[in-house]
C-alpha cells in the first residue's frame, strides 16, 4: 500500500464519491462539499494570479512582475491597460442598483467584439469551407491513377448524408414521396451520428473510471 498521504486522501475521496452509486450518504455529501469549496477557492486564486495580476497589475505597475517572477525584467508601462480595468470595474456596478446600468457598457463591448470576431470566422470555416470540402473531392483517385473506391464511397456517403440531412430540416415542403424518402434517409444518418456520439461519450466516461481504478489498484493498493 502507498505510504503517501496525498494518495490516501485522493483514494478515500474517490471511494466516498463512488459510494453514491449505492445511495446518497454523508460520506458522499462530505466529498461533494469539499470539492465545491476547494474548487471555488482554487479558481479564485488562479484567476487572480494568472489573469488579473499579469494583465492588469503588471501592465500598470511593471515592477510588480518580480512578485511572481523574481528574476524577470520589468516591461514597459502600458497605459492602455487602464481601459479593460475600467470596463471590469464598470461590470461590478451591477452590485449597486442605482449604478447597475453602467455594467451594460462592458457587456456590450464583450458581446460586440465576440460576435464580430466569431461571425466572420464561423461563416468562413463552418459554412463556406464546409460546403466546399463536402463536394470538392468527388471520385478519389490514387497516385497511380486508379480509383480509390473506399475513399470515393466515403465521399458519396458524406454528400448523401449532408443533402438528406438538409432535406429533413427543410420544412417549407411536405415530406412526401421521394422528398420524404430523402428526409427519412437524413434521419437515419442522424441516428447513426447520435449513436456514434453516445459511443464516444461512453468511451470518455469509462476512460475516466479506468483511470481512477488504476490509481486505486496501482497507486494506492499496489496491486498493478
Amino acid at each position: 500500500m502507498s505510504g503517501s498521504l496525498e494518495v490516501w486522501i485522493a483514494s478515500l475521496l474517490t471511494l466516498m464519491v463512488f459510494s453514491f452509486l449505492w445511495r446518497d450518504n454523508p460520506l458522499y455529501k462530505f466529498a461533494e462539499h469539499l470539492f465545491v469549496g476547494v474548487s471555488a477557492a482554487y479558481f479564485m486564486v488562479l484567476a487572480f494570479w494568472s489573469t488579473l495580476w499579469p494583465n492588469a497589475v503588471v501592465k500598470l505597475v511593471p515592477a510588480a512582475v518580480r512578485v511572481t517572477q523574481p528574476g524577470a525584467e520589468p516591461g514597459a508601462f502600458e497605459p492602455l491597460a487602464i481601459v479593460p480595468v475600467l470596463l471590469g470595474l464598470l461590470m461590478l456596478c451591477r452590485l449597486w442598483p442605482r449604478l447597475a446600468w453602467l455594467s451594460r457598457w462592458p457587456t456590450a463591448f464583450a458581446i460586440g467584439t465576440t460576435a464580430g470576431y466569431n461571425l466572420t470566422r464561423y461563416l468562413r470555416t463552418d459554412f463556406l469551407n464546409q460546403i466546399s470540402t463536402t463536394v470538392q473531392d468527388g471520385i478519389v483517385v490514387q497516385q497511380a491513377g486508379r480509383v480509390a473506391w473506399g475513399g470515393t464511397l466515403d465521399q458519396i456517403l458524406v454528400l448523401a448524408g449532408t443533402v438528406c440531412g438538409l432535406v429533413y430540416f427543410t420544412y417549407s415542403r411536405p415530406h412526401r414521396g421521394y422528398y420524404g424518402g430523402m428526409a427519412r434517409v437524413g434521419v437515419a444518418f442522424m441516428m447513426v451520428t447520435f449513436g456514434a456520439s453516445f459511443g464516444y461519450a461512453v468511451m470518455g466516461r469509462v476512460a475516466v473510471l479506468v483511470s481512477r481504478l488504476q490509481e486505486l489498484l496501482g497507486g494506492w493498493l499496489g496491486l498493478l
Binding site: 452509486l21 517572477q69 523574481p70 470566422r121 470555416t125 461519450a201 468511451m203 470518455g204 475516466v208 481504478l213
Partner: protein, 291 residues
C-alpha cells in the same frame, strides 16, 4: 412458455441499477488485474498527424496547446505524452501554451512526467519553451497569429521570448511547422481551427475527449490534419509510435493499458443495452397478450 418469458421481461425491466455498477466494476477490476492488452493500429484519422511529426526536419518548431483540466486528463494526457515523446525523439523544438487556467499544471505534468524522466538531456528554454496559460480564449489565438510577444512577454520563468533558443525564428503562429491542440471543450480545438488552422492554412492536428470527437470529424482532412478522438485516438498514436520506433516496442503506455478494460466495459454495456431492450420487448408482448 410465453408467461415465463413475460416474467423475465418484468425482471429485466426492473433490474436494480446497482447490479449493473457492480458487474461493471468487477469486470474492470478483473481486467486491470489480469493486464489484458488488445492489439491497436493507427487509423486514418491518427496516421497523418503521426506522419507529419515523423517527417518534419529535426529542429522544427511545434506548438502544443494543452486546453484541458484534470477531469479530462485521463483521455487527453496520454495523447500529449505520446506526441511530446515522438516530437522530442525526432529532435523537434516544442512550445507549450494553454487557453485553460489549469493549463500550467497540465503542462507541468507533461514536462515532469515525460521530458524530465525520459529525455534528461532536453533543456527548458533551449529545446522547449513553456509560455503557459493566457486568458482571452480565441482572442489569444487571434493575437498569436499576429505576434507571439503581443501575448507573452516571456516564458513562465520570466525569460524574454527573444532569448529562448527554442523559439528562434518563431515570431507568429505561421512560423510553427505544426500546431497540435489537446482540447476538452471551449476554448479548444474548435477555436484553433477557426482562428488559426483555417484562416492561416496552418498544419493543425488535434486531440479531443471522446464526447467531443464527433463534432471535429467534419473538419478532417481538409481543415484538420489529424485527429485523436478520446482514449482510442491516444492508443492509436501510441501504436504508431511502437510500430515506427523500436525503442518503444516494449514500453507500456497509458492509453494502450486502458484499452483492455475499455473493451470489457463496452461489452458489458452492450450486453445490458441488449438485455434492456429484450426486457422491453417481453414486457410489451405480455401487455399485448393481456389485452
Amino acid at each position: 412458455m410465453r408467461r415465463r418469458g413475460a416474467d423475465w421481461g418484468a425482471r429485466l425491466a426492473g433490474l436494480d441499477r446497482r447490479w449493473i455498477y457492480l458487474i461493471l466494476a468487477a469486470g474492470l477490476i478483473l481486467t486491470l488485474l489480469t493486464g489484458l492488452r488488445l492489439p491497436e493500429r493507427p487509423s486514418i484519422l491518427v496516421e497523418p498527424l503521426y506522419e507529419r511529426v515523423e517527417n518534419l526536419p529535426p529542429g522544427s518548431p511545434i506548438l502544443l496547446s494543452l486546453d484541458y483540466t484534470p477531469s479530462t486528463a485521463p483521455e487527453l494526457e496520454p495523447m500529449a505524452f505520446a506526441v511530446v515523446r515522438h516530437a522530442l525523439l525526432k529532435g523537434h523544438r516544442l512550445c507549450f501554451v494553454s487557453l485553460y487556467p489549469e493549463g500550467d499544471n497540465q503542462i507541468a505534468r507533461v514536462t515532469e512526467g515525460v521530458i524530465a524522466r525520459e529525455f534528461p538531456a532536453v533543456r527548458a528554454g533551449r529545446d522547449f519553451a513553456v509560455l503557459g496559460y493566457k486568458a482571452g480564449n480565441e482572442m489569444v489565438i487571434n493575437a498569436l497569429a499576429q505576434r507571439l510577444d503581443s501575448m507573452y512577454a516571456g516564458d513562465l520563468e520570466g525569460r524574454p521570448l527573444a532569448e529562448l533558443p527554442a523559439l528562434a525564428g518563431v515570431h507568429r503562429l505561421a512560423d510553427f511547422a505544426l500546431v497540435v491542440a489537446f482540447s476538452a471543450g471551449t476554448p479548444g480545438l474548435k477555436e484553433w481551427i477557426l482562428f488559426a488552422g483555417d484562416p492561416l492554412g496552418l498544419p493543425l492536428g488535434g486531440g479531443c475527449n471522446g464526447a467531443g470527437a464527433p463534432q471535429f470529424l467534419p473538419y478532417f482532412p481538409h481543415q484538420l490534419l489529424g485527429l485523436m478522438g478520446g482514449i482510442k485516438g491516444a492508443a492509436e498514436y501510441e501504436a504508431a509510435l511502437r510500430l515506427g520506433h523500436p525503442e518503444f516496442h516494449q514500453r507500456t503506455m497509458r492509453a494502450t493499458e486502458g484499452m483492455g478494460p475499455q473493451a470489457v466495459a463496452h461489452c458489458i454495456i452492450i450486453a445490458f443495452v441488449l438485455l434492456g431492450n429484450l426486457g422491453l420487448l417481453l414486457s410489451r408482448r405480455r401487455r399485448e397478450d393481456a389485452t
